[in-house]
């Protein structure tokens, strides 16, 4: 089977720091691929390169077998790759609904929408509220609240809801549950599995090994800016995975790659 | 060896100084003098004028023509230039003290104001005692010309002055108010509107220059009072003279910046050739290039020329 998203030889340097060092990557159709690695291993840099948020110094990216070069997150989104960044990427002063529909606003039907280009606020608010309810973010008191007034976890919930609502080819989640409560984390994991059931593959970056081992089909272990190995969670224990990623144990041959 | 000279004006955005520069350039070309021109950024920008003087010294110029934005502020730098062996000639306004420069070719701005003041008073006749006067000045910083013209006008009109070194301290009830125009049309219109709101029956308008007079006229026109108000101004630029002819401005005092500049360049050339300095007009401590009142409605006792003559003599 051909990977739906594939990268070869990605490199990215920041001044003296090498964030990506000739890194390869493969995401198979319909799978949940977890990416794990030490802090600073270059996981966020990898998914930024895949989603067009940074331009790698060298290397190639293929979507559905076609070589692509996303020069902006918009390009990636138009191609169906939706990302929740670690920094969440929301406009603090704008409302939750505005943020969820940023860049793909709905217009009113009829002349108000086509000629006067008026936004369909009621529709956007309704959909936004639905999506948040799916994630169980009921503690949000007002859909027109500015995002800056939300708690850290509430913000993360909104970002995840946005990606899940709009991703069509690939969804990338960079530590989606880091700031979430137990219940909310649970919902996000359920949501991830729902999305997979819809046939959309997911890249999940997380430091939470139980979560990773619960949902991932395969685990990409990242170390010192490159892919160390890819393992099947059924073949290894959590401690093995941690040992590989910290270098305490030698990695298995590039199994499953 | 080639004679080089500098011209330093207050700004290079006011048409008056632009024409002065053109006059100087024409004369310099004729005499084979190489001329460099400098200007401050705004009226009152002494630092740039000081820097310009220093540049002329560094450049090895033989002489400097300068219209000081403050007659006393830059005397020290002028002295520095003279010490370095340059001939310094003040144009348009004398320095304070007058002998700070080697020579001065200037209009007497006070007299320029006085002429239009007398003309306005003469035109109104007995009504002058009940006049309502709007004073449209240049800037809140009150540069020297601004004060001289304003005070000259009031004196000529027959109003008792307060401190002659600043405007705005007169108590005569005929003065409706002072406002500032920045010397352009926009400022002229706004200042006129403000004063009209204060007293819509204004019938005499003094303006610092002709562009602000044109702006004031627009304000009057918008309420249909342009015919019953006397506007007077100073400068004598060609658009200004045309405006006198068209009845926009009643009378204006015409100056001769081209003459000043040309005389200045000549003086520097002469001095470079044989070391002789120009001498001042009899009875004054500067060489007066003269000022004439331009109007098509002359008043007895105030000497004036008509707009045809004014158009011949105008400077831009």
């Amino acid at each position: 089977m051909e990977p739906i998203l594939k990268a070869r030889g990605l490199s990215k340097r920041y001044g003296k720091v090498t964030a990506l060092d000739n890194c390869d990557f493969d995401l198979m159709p319909g799978e949940i691929l977890a990416v794990i690695g030490d802090n600073g291993a270059g996981k966020s840099s990898l998914i930024k390169a895949l989603s067009g948020a940074i331009t790698p110094d060298s290397g190639e990216i293929f979507l559905d077998g076609q070589q692509v070069s996303f020069n902006s997150p918009i390009a990636a989104r138009l191609a169906g790759v939706e990302t929740v960044y670690q920094t969440l990427a929301m406009s603090p002063a704008l409302s939750i609904a505005d943020n969820m529909f940023m860049g793909r606003e709905l217009r009113k039907p009829g002349i108000m929408g086509s000629l006067f280009r008026q936004l369909d606020r009621p529709a956007m608010e309704r959909i936004a509220r639905e999506k948040l309810s799916e994630l169980g973010l009921m503690t949000i008191q007002n859909i027109n609240q500015a995002v800056e007034t939300l708690s850290g976890g509430q913000r993360q919930g909104v970002a995840v809801a946005r990606a899940a609502a709009f991703g069509s080819k690939v969804i990338i989640l960079d530590e989606p549950t880091a700031a979430l409560g137990v219940k909310e984390s649970r919902r996000v994991l359920d949501l991830i599995q729902d999305v997979r059931a819809r046939g959309i593959p997911i890249i999940l970056i997380s430091h939470n090994m139980p979560h990773v081992f619960e949902v991932a089909d395969r685990i990409h272990v990242h170390r010192l800016g490159k892919r160390l190995c890819v393992i099947d969670p059924k073949d290894y224990t959590m401690s093995d995975a941690v040992a590989f990623m910290t270098g305490a144990k030698a990695a298995p041959g590039l199994a499953l790659a | 060896q080639e004679v080089s000279a500098c011209l330093i004006t207050k700004t290079d955005t006011n048409p008056f100084f632009v024409k002065m520069r053109e006059g100087a350039e024409a004369k310099a070309a004729e005499l084979g003098v190489s001329l460099k021109s400098f200007a401050g950024k705004v009226d009152g920008d002494h630092e740039t004028q000081v820097a310009a003087i220093e540049t002329c010294i560094a450049d090895g110029a033989k002489g400097i023509l300068i219209t000081a934005s403050d007659t006393s502020a830059i005397v020290k730098s002028v002295q520095q230039a003279r010490d370095a062996g340059l001939l310094v000639i003040a144009l348009d306004t004398p320095l304070t003290p007058g002998d700070a420069a080697d020579a001065t070719f200037a209009t007497d701005n006070f007299i320029a104001g006085e002429l239009i003041g007398k003309w306005a008073a003469g035109t109104l006749g007995a009504e002058a005692a009940n006049a309502k006067i709007a004073m449209l000045d240049l800037a809140v910083s009150q540069p020297t010309v601004d004060v001289l013209r304003d005070q000259g006008f009031l004196q000529g009109f027959g109003i008792e002055l307060g401190d002659p070194n600043k405007w705005g301290d007169e108590t005569d009830p005929r003065i409706v108010g002072h406002d500032v125009t920045a010397g352009n049309e926009e400022g002229g219109r706004k200042a006129m509107e403000n004063l009209l709101a204060k007293d819509p029956m204004i019938n005499v308008v003094y303006t610092i220059n002709e562009p602000s007079a044109a702006g004031a006229y627009e304000a009057l026109k918008s309420i249909g009072r342009e015919k019953d108000v006397l506007i007077v101004s100073v400068d004598g630029g060609c658009p200004g003279v045309t405006n006198v002819k068209d009845g926009v401005i009643g009378a204006t005092s015409q100056q001769y910046p081209l003459d000043m500049a040309a005389l200045g360049v000549e003086a520097i050339k002469t001095w470079a050739d044989n070391g002789s300095k120009p001498s001042p007009t009899e009875g004054k401590d500067f060489f007066d290039t003269g000022v004439k009142l331009v109007t098509d409605a002359p008043v007895d006792g105030v000497e004036s020329i008509d707009t045809t003559k004014g158009a011949e003599l105008c400077w831009g």
Binding site: A53, S72, P73, I74, R77, T83, T87, A89, M90, S91, P92, A93, L94, D98, M102, G103, R104, E105, R107, F116, R117, Q118, L119, E125, M138, I140, Q141, N142, I143, N144, T149, R162 | D12, T13, P15, V18, V140, G177, D179, A182, N184, E185, E186, R189, E193, N194, L195, A197, K198, P200, A214, G215, Y217, E218, K221, S222, I223, D246, V248, G316
Partner: protein
């Protein structure tokens, strides 16, 4: 804080809160504070009404005349049009120091192309508007593509455009009488209509319509929301799918175009075409924007606030003048007013801190 125009007040009220454990705040002052907080452009509106009331009480009929009141509108129209351009730019967390220069350069081009080259006025006006848009595009391109700070870019372009204006025009004024006879279209915005005794120039009407149109666009179209998002956090906007570059370039182009319109309106106001006009348009437009409650850090505020801000300055200038304050005192008091207006605004915003 989610609201950015007083149109918001309505939509906020419309939505049901999902879960809530509220107590209404007590005390009249804090109630007022909350009300004001939910619609930011209400503040400058109240300041405006208060200042009109105060000057009216002090000055009586002199101030409450149709003449004086419509005069204020005429006096602020130019600054207000430029302020609309400035508002757009400041909402993107930028600043446009070149507004005044673009305005005067465009008006000079409109005049000179008509009189120096003999083009029909309508063509000259089109060229002037195109030039303003072009200068705006250059600003936008340098800011969005080369990623230079707006302050610097527009500082540089300001100096360049102003110098070009003086060099090109040769400091020559085109007289009102000449324009009136040969190209009255240039003075179009100076024409007046009489609505129930009050006299409005087309310039004033254009100004008010422009602000209303922009308020609609900013509030109710995707482009408008993107302007706010870019001003709020450009990285986040980019990552969440806004084409920040396109938004920025379009904002500066629009700003340039509006300034060119201001240049046209300027000819209507002063009658003539004069290259020395408009030198204080920068500071005055920024003052209007700021008194109107738009944040200089971008992303917050409403363009209607700018309208009120411009009017407040107009009311104070004329009111103080009528009270007999001399020019220097007016200057001083406007300085104090700016600080006071923002201090009040700050007090209101405290609610959310």
């Amino acid at each position: 804080m989610s609201s950015d125009s007083d149109l918001d007040a309505a939509s906020v009220a419309r939505t049901e809160t999902v879960a809530t454990f509220d107590h209404e705040p007590t005390g009249l002052l804090s109630r007022l504070q909350h009300a004001l907080h939910s619609s930011p452009s209400l503040v400058p509106l109240i300041v405006l009404v208060l200042s009109v009331a105060i000057f009216g009480a002090l000055l009586g009929g002199k101030f409450f005349s149709t003449f004086a009141l419509t005069l204020i509108l005429q006096q602020v129209a130019i600054v207000g049009i430029v302020g609309a351009a400035q508002s757009l730019v400041i909402l993107t967390a930028g600043i446009d120091l070149s507004v005044g220069a673009i305005m005067v350069l465009s008006s000079v081009v409109m005049g000179q192309f008509t009189f120096r080259y003999g083009l029909p006025p309508v063509a000259s006006i089109a060229i002037g508007l195109a030039l303003g848009t072009l200068v705006g595009f250059i600003n936008g391109w340098l800011i969005a593509r080369i990623k230079l700070p707006p302050f610097i870019v527009t500082l540089g372009v300001w100096q360049i455009a102003l110098a070009a204006n003086f060099l090109y025009s040769g400091n020559e004024t085109i007289r009102a009488q000449e324009i009136e006879t040969n190209a009255p279209l240039l003075q179009f915005f100076g024409q007046t209509i009489n609505i129930g005794g009050a006299v409005f120039t087309y310039g004033v009407i254009f100004f008010v319509l422009l602000v209303l149109l922009l308020a609609y666009v900013l509030r109710h179209t995707a482009w408008g929301r993107h302007v706010y998002a870019v001003g709020d956090d450009p990285d986040a906007a980019e990552l969440s799918g806004v084409n920040t570059r396109k938004v920025l370039i379009s904002v500066y182009m629009l700003s340039g175009l509006i300034c060119a319109f201001a240049g046209w309106a300027l000819i209507g106001r002063i009658g003539s075409v004069s290259p020395t006009s408009g030198q204080s348009a920068n500071i005055e437009s920024i003052t209007a924007v700021v008194i109107g409650g738009i944040s200089l850090f971008g992303g917050r505020g409403s363009i209607l606030g700018m309208l009120f801000g411009a009017l407040i300055v107009g009311v104070f200038s004329l009111g103080l003048r009528l009270l007999g304050a001399d020019a220097q005192w007016t200057y001083l008091l406007i300085g104090a007013l700016i600080i006071a207006a923002v201090a009040v605004d700050q007090w209101i915003r405290k609610v959310s801190v």
